[in-house]
Symmetry: C2
Subunit: 188 residues, 2 copies
DNA sequence: TTATTACCATACATATTAGTATGGATTCGC
DNA sequence: GCGAATCCATACTAATATGTATGGTAATAA
């Protein structure tokens, strides 16, 4: 109920977006109403309409924020994690899974389906960059063309939908699952 | 604009749900408002509130309808498709992909996230039955325990997220992708 | 054929949410 | 310190959605 930030409630645009992503992950997109976020931030609508033109502007900014937070940073972190392409792939699987980066996929894509003009454009760009990045890992591992593409799609699907399947494995089993998946998908 | 059913607009509960699923797939869940569905069906709200108690009742009925339409029928059809477990898996991949059965996954799961009480319960049940069914195929193929479970999750993820990734392959490539995926996932 | 049920139209009430207008309070450049 | 820009509160409007009350028509059973 009380403001979530320390000092006397004076917010930046990014604080708005970060709080919104948190609500999106924990309570779903139906709870992502303007005044509800205001309450979580300890401010009123006056703040919202200073930072954002309207709700459309907010949603697009949020999806853009998501794409900037969870695409390039992950890719560059993974790129620097190892020299061996196999180890980088292993790092990708672990980072995305344990970092909870996949928990926004469903909500974001539900928006994309109902806003083909702007949200879908951003998501499509993210998809393309993810696919190219992961496929390049498999190319480095010696898979060519469609084989690399298929493995990239399967890997992204495995990571993304792992977070969406409501029947969960225990945590220790999830790392076992990842290892088994890694062995299968890198086998020549 | 005109009523989509032939005779003089006299609907059953299932016709309501089928029309709703169609709107959900084509226009997204934001367009799934009561009066919008009324318009598509050529009736008014009086009809809606005769068939459904309120909107919550409608949403839960819709998710239940989805689970009944796209779980047991697919499983039984696949079960009868061949004797060999590998051919049944191949049949599953083709039927789900070409039948467009995965296009509701995102919207349904977005609802599940925001309604843990009832919608999520239904989706969880669907997930469990899907996992058990697909895992049993891999068990038949000689994979035991975690190997079968991992392969079931990967297969379901591949099918579900294939429909959600906005960067699409051409249609002929999708069948190639399926074949490549099949070879990889069934390799011992 | 008549009474009853199934199904729907209409008109209304209510709630929720987005959006606006305006002024007040902090902070910052200078 | 002072003006200007930044950031937000308050009070309001307007649009959109759900839900209700009630009556009407077509089908069905007897």
């Amino acid at each position: 109920m009380s403001p979530r930030n320390g000092t006397a409630t004076r917010l930046s645009r990014d604080q708005w977006l970060a709080q919104a992503l948190d609500i999106l992950a924990t309570e779903g997109q139906a709870k992502l109403r303007i005044e509800a976020i205001c309450k979580a931030l300890g401010v009123t609508k006056g703040s919202f309409y200073w930072h954002f033109k309207d709700r459309d502007d907010f949603v697009r900014s949020l999806v853009l924020f998501w794409s900037e937070q969870f695409t390039d940073p992950v890719m560059s972190r993974v790129s620097q994690s190892a020299d061996d392409a196999g180890e980088r792939l292993r790092s990708l699987l672990r980072v995305v899974s344990e970092g909870g980066y996949a928990r926004y996929e469903v909500s974001i894509r539900a928006w994309a389906a109902q806003d083909p003009h702007l949200v879908a454009v951003i998501v499509r760009d993210v998809d393309a960059r993810r696919l190219a990045f992961v496929a390049s890992l498999f190319t480095e591992l010696g898979f060519a063309g469609p084989q690399a593409d298929m493995r990239a799609r399967a890997s992204i699907a495995f990571l993304s939908f792992e977070a969406a399947i409501l029947v969960k494995s225990p945590d220790e089993d999830r790392s076992v699952m990842r290892d088994l998946f890694f062995e299968m998908i890198t086998r020549r």
